[in-house]
Every structure is written in C-alpha cells, then in structure tokens.
C-alpha cells in the first residue's frame, strides 16, 4: 500500500508540474486570492461562474484550477478581514476579531504574515493527511453497494443542512427542492419524461452548470449589490509582514492545533470553512492562560483559525475523491464539474483516474507554496483591488456569466435558466433560505435516486435493506445521531453565529428598538423561537467579547 502511495505521489507531481497545469494552479490561486479580497464575490460564486471554462480543459486541470480558487480564497479573505474588518468570504469572519485589532495596533503586517504561514502549514499538513487517509478509505468504499450510497448521500445532504449557517429546517426544505429539481427530465431507468411540461429543452433535465451559475453567481451578485457598502481604500503601508521570532513562538501551538482540528472538521460532511475557524478560535481561547487577550489582538486568534480553515478546505476533498460525496457546496460544484466531464468521483477514481486523484493532491502542495510566495510580498498589491467598485465588478461578472453559460451547450435556453435561478437565488438570500443545500441535493439527486431504485430491486422492495446491511445501517445510525444532536447543536450554533458579529446584533436591536420595542416580544409566530432569541441576546450581552464558545 505504501509503495502505491509513493508511486501515486510521484505520478501526481508529474501531473501537477506539467507546464499547463502549473499555469492553471497559478491562475487558480491568483483568482482565489483576488476574489477572496473582493467583497461580494466569494469562492462559490467564482467557481460557479468559471464552470463553463472547465469544459474546454482536461478534467485534472479543471479540478486543479477550481481547487486552487477554493484554497486561494481562504488566503485572500484574510487580507480584508485584518485590514478592514470586512471578511471577503465567510470562513475569515473569525479573523476579524483579533486580526482587525492587531491592525489597529499597527501590527497588520504580522497578522497577515502569520495567517499566510499558518495557512501554508495547515494546507501542507492537510495534504499529507489526505495522501495517507484517502487510499485506504477508497479501498473500503469500493465494497459499497447501492444501499450504502443511498445512506451516504442522505447523510451528506443532512449534514450540510444541519451544519450550514441557516436554519436546518429551511435548509432541509431546500435540499428537498434540489432533489425534486434533479428529477426533471428523463427517468434514469425507464426513460419516461418527468416534469418537462412538454418542453424539449427540459428532456435532459436542468443543466447543473446553469442552475449553479444562477443560484450562486447571479443570485449572490444581485444580493451583494443591494447592500451598497462603501469600502474605504487602504492607504497605510503595511510593514513587517514576516512575523518576528516571538510571534512564531506565540502562535506555533495554535498553528499545530489548528492544522489537526481543521483537517478533522474538513473531512466531515458539512465541515470546512466557517465551522473549522470558529472551532479553532474557541479552542485557542479556552486554552489560553489569559483569555481576555482574545478580541484585543491576540496573535493566536489569527493564527489558529486561519490555519484551520485552510487545512479544512484541503481535507474536504477526501470525501469527494474517495466516496464521491461532496462535503460542502464548493466541493459540490467541483463534483458537478467532474460529472459534466463524464467522470463520476467515487472509490474507483483513485484506480481509474489516478492522474486526477494524485494530480489534484500534488497541485495543492504546489499551490500552497505559490500562495505563500504571492502573499508575503504582494499583500500591498492585493489591497489595491479594493478600489474596484462593486458596480463595475457586478456588471462584468453578470455579462461573463451570460456569455459563459451560452458557451456550455451553445443554447440560449440555458441563459434563461440562469436568469430564473438568479432571481430565485437572490430571493432565497433575502428570505433566509440557503442555496447551498439545494445545489448539493441537485447534484446528488440522480445518484441517490438510482441507488435507491437499485437497492429496491436488490431487496425485493423491502426498505429493511438500508438497516440490515452493517455499513448502510451504521451510516443511518450516524444520521439519527445527527438529528438528535442537532436539537442541541442548533441552539449553540445560533449563539456562536450571533457572536460572530456582535455589532450587527446590536445594530439590529437599535434599528428595531424604536419601531417595536423589545425585540424578543415582537409578534413572531413561534413562541419557542422568541424565548430563544431573547436568551441569545442576553448571552451575547453578557459575553461582550466575541467567540465565547
């Protein structure tokens, strides 16, 4: 087995160091950093917008590019969090707590430097873990039959709905909608057309790329355009980016713990990004001799979460590359990109498409080295990107989206699909429904249906097959545990997210105070929710520093 791994790694580097792939790794991490810096365009939107491009290139190159954008954005998001208290993407929200305080104390340089170093260490350690853990996991997964796939996809969807940032019930509802949308077009087994309303354009179902581009690309651009925030330019020069020996000494423990924590959380479906950085921040604060330093510019509070979010964005590839289950929305998009290329990620990927499997892994090492090299000297340049006005960015992004989606199958019907889903995505954002679970479920829908029907044929129509087989039964047991835990978790998570941005919470109360008086006593439909709302508010009042848990 170990020999196989070393062969694989060698093959991977052969793929990753191919000049064309090197160019795409570079393009990926550069684009990722840029969009991480630009508020209003996150990794999901960008990857969705670039999906059409991936049709024209090799599958391995496509995933290398998209992966580069994903972890590149983790680096880029740090820059605005530290300098402007504006998280460029969700996972770097935590960095604003201490990073911005460091910047106010004139230590923006070391904050960015330690974040880059931590991200690098976390990324590399996570790649090593990926190399060691993925092949045995894939070996195990080869024995999976249809019932296991039903359980696994159901678990994946469930975890994403529960661990996402929105209300679990609303996310579950969106997941159901995604599964329903996935059934449009021809029945995978009998070929009967379903929900096509007589339209020939719908015979093949909705195009995944068009749906994703609409919901994430157009929807998010519209949503961010509505909030016209003025971004002030950063004119101060950033000095001393390379951290001092003391900085390294202070943060080495946080980086080590962040790497492990991020790796573990990233592997879990629904993990990655925000959860890992929140968890790392909480851990560092709990471990600290003097927790009161946190929120006032503690370097561990930057180093730990930044390390963890990059480690998790790498390890999140493990379930995709070994089980064929995307752990979060970004990976669902990468999954979709591979499906479009005619490759179904799963346990066979490592043996059937080793150049993709090992090539992507090796490219992450290369990409992380590039990011470290880019970030330390070029922070000042990236900051200048904030001068690009949101209106200009949105106009061009929308036009590229439209042209891009047309290019996928040279069909203007897809442009309408993007437009319709763009409106839906924007309305979903406005009404607190997460588009993530919808897209994830849409991607997994066909696999799930096929596996379900095959299971039914296997078992002769008995639903017991899901419970009696040890692996699928075990997975279902995990699902049950998740549902039970979520009742406890939902409360704690809401509190955690409330504390992520205490100012917003106060702003909300200020805004509503004069209108309706006590926020907790307003006419809301569910009394339980009211009680929860008030208790959360008092929680965050009592703990005036963010990230108590």
């Amino acid at each position: 087995m170990t020999v196989g791994i070393f062969d694989g790694i060698a093959q991977g580097f052969a793929v990753a160091l191919d000049p064309i792939n090197l160019l795409y790794v570079f393009a990926g991490v550069l684009i990722g950093t840029v969009i991480g810096v630009l508020p209003g365009l996150g990794p999901t939107a960008t990857i969705a917008l670039l999906l059409p491009l991936t049709y024209t290139i090799e599958p391995a190159t496509a995933v290398i590019l998209l992966a580069g954008i994903y972890y590149g954005s983790m680096y880029g998001g740090t820059i605005t969090s530290v300098l402007l208290r504006l998280p460029g993407e969700a996972a770097s929200v935590v960095t604003t707590f201490d990073g911005y305080q460091m910047a106010k104390q004139g230590r923006a340089g070391p904050a960015l430097g330690i974040a880059a170093v931590g991200s690098f260490v976390g990324g590399i350690l996570s790649v090593l873990g990926l190399m060691l853990l993925a092949p045995p996991l894939a070996d195990l997964a080869v024995s999976f039959g249809p019932p296991e796939y039903v359980a696994l996809t159901a678990l994946g969807i469930l975890l994403v709905t529960y661990l996402g940032s929105g209300s679990p019930l609303k996310s579950l509802s969106m997941a159901a909608l995604g599964l329903l949308l996935a059934t449009m077009g021809q029945d995978p087994i009998t070929g009967t057309t379903r929900f096509t309303f007589g339209s020939v354009a719908l015979f093949d179902g909705l195009d995944f790329v068009a749906v994703a581009m609409g919901l994430f690309g157009v929807g998010e651009i519209l949503h961010s355009l509505e909030r016209t925030e003025k971004v002030q330019a950063v004119t101060k020069k950033i000095k001393h980016i390379w951290p001092t020996r003391k900085d390294f000494k202070d943060s080495s423990g946080a980086i080590a713990r962040g790497s492990v924590l991020g790796f573990v959380i990233g592997v879990l479906p629904g993990g990655g990004g925000v959860i890992s950085s929140l968890a790392s921040y909480a851990l560092e604060k709990r471990r600290a001799k003097d927790p009161s330093r946190f929120g006032k510019g503690a370097i561990e509070g930057v180093a730990g979460p930044e390390t963890a979010n990059n480690a998790s964005s790498t390890s999140a590839f493990i379930p995709l590359l070994t089980l064929g289950i995307p752990a979060n929305v970004v990976l669902a998009l990468i999954f979709g990109a591979l499906l479009v290329q005619g490759i179904t990620p799963g346990p066979q990927l490592i043996t059937e498409e080793p150049e993709i499997f090992w090539g992507v892994i090796a490219s992450m090492v290369v990409g992380n080295v590039m990011l470290l090299a880019l970030n330390i000297p070029l922070v000042g340049v990236f900051v200048q990107l904030l001068r690009v006005r949101a209106g200009i960015l949105a106009a061009f992004a929308l036009l590229v989206t439209m042209a891009g989606v047309f290019s996928v199958s040279n069909d203007s019907f897809d442009m309408w699909v993007v437009l319709v889903f763009g409106v839906i995505g924007w309305l979903m954002k406005k009404t607190g429904f997460e588009p993530g679970p919808l897209v994830l479920a849409f991607v997994l829908g066909e696999i799930m249906e096929r596996a379900f029907r095959q299971s039914m044929l296997l078992s002769g129509g008995s639903l017991g097959i899901f419970v009696t087989r040890p692996l699928s039964g075990g997975l279902l047991a995990v699902m049950a545990a998740v549902v039970i835990l979520s009742l406890v978790m939902a409360r704690r998570r809401r509190a955690a997210f409330r504390q992520v941005d205490p100012e917003d919470e106060f702003g909300r109360e200020d805004g509503t105070g004069p209108v309706e008086g006590e926020p907790g006593l307003s006419a809301e439909p569910a009394t339980g929710r009211n009680a929860r709302h008030t208790s959360d508010s008092t929680d965050s009042d009592a703990a005036s520093t963010p990230g108590e848990r």
Binding site: S173, E226, T228, M402, A403, S407, S412, F433, G461, T512
Partner: protein, 166 residues
C-alpha cells in the same frame, strides 16, 4: 404592521415589513410540493419491488411538502431581509438582463453587451458617462475577442460581427 412599505427611518432591519408577508415563501414551497406530488402520482408510482417513474419524485415531493408545512408555522421571521430602495434597482437590473438575452438571440453579442454594460455601469453602478462608455466599449470588445475569437463560441451573428469579420 403588515404593510410592505419601507420603514420611515432607514433602519437596517425594520420588523414591520415582515410580520405576515414572510409566509409567502413556505406557501409557495407547499404549493410546489403538493403539485409535484400530484404529478408524480400521475406518472405512476409503481411498487417498492418495481418502482415506477413517479415513486422517487413522490418521496422527495413529500419531504418538500412536509418541511413547507412545518415552516408555515415555525419559520423565524428574523431571517427575512427587508425590501429596500436597492430592491427596485435590482429588479431594473434583472429586466435589463432579460432584455439582453432577447437582443442576444436576435442581433448577436457585441451590441447588446455594450448596451447592457453601459446601462448597468451608468445607472446601477453610478459611474460617469465617460467612464461607463469607455468600459462598455472595451468590455464588449474584449469579451467578444475572448469568447468568439479565442474560445470559438458560436454566438448568434449580428451586424457588428459582420464588420469584425467573424
């Protein structure tokens, strides 16, 4: 309480706008779920031993219906963002985008792209006329070069394409 008019002060989260209106979303989902259930039944559910084309859609639609019913009663109203003056601009922008697709189908890419960029940058982005003009011309030409010349995407031919000799 239940009016959709924006709050007088530009409060960030006016509660008044959303006491009942927010129920529209779960109601829509509910209608969608029930509709899909009925259609799935017509497709033929089959049996668990021999699933018909409608069985899986019916299961999924039942899940959607179920969650929508619960949401009708349990949906936290605080999730809903208020409609603002910015909303009207977004709707205008969307109408522009739809017009772009219509024009694109008839007269090709370059002219509608120029018009879309110009209108968007000037009216939604608030750029000066000169800036908007320069960016719109440059944007339309560059994107034409990227998509048509470099990537070889067959956009519908229009008047400008003949001039450019594409």
């Amino acid at each position: 309480m239940s009016t959709s008019a924006p709050a007088p002060a530009p409060a960030r989260h006016p509660r008044s706008a959303r006491s009942q209106l927010h129920r529209i979303a779960p109601l829509l989902l509910l209608a969608l779920g029930v509709g899909a259930l009925l259609m799935a039944r017509d497709m033929g559910l089959g049996e668990f031993t021999a699933p018909g084309p409608g069985l899986w859609p019916a299961i999924v639609a039942a899940l959607l219906t179920g969650t929508a019913v619960v949401l009708l009663f349990l949906d936290p109203a605080e999730d809903y963002e208020p409609w603002t003056a910015g909303t009207a601009r977004i709707v205008a922008g969307l109408a522009g985008l739809a017009l772009f697709v219509v024009l694109f189908q008839t007269i090709g890419f370059v002219v509608p792209a120029f018009l879309l960029l110009l209108a968007w940058l000037r009216f939604l982005g608030g750029e000066s006329w000169r800036m908007a003009l320069v960016l719109a011309v440059a944007g339309a030409v560059v994107l034409h070069l990227v998509f048509v010349v470099a990537l070889g995407v067959p956009f519908p031919a229009g008047p400008v394409d003949q001039l450019l000799g594409a």
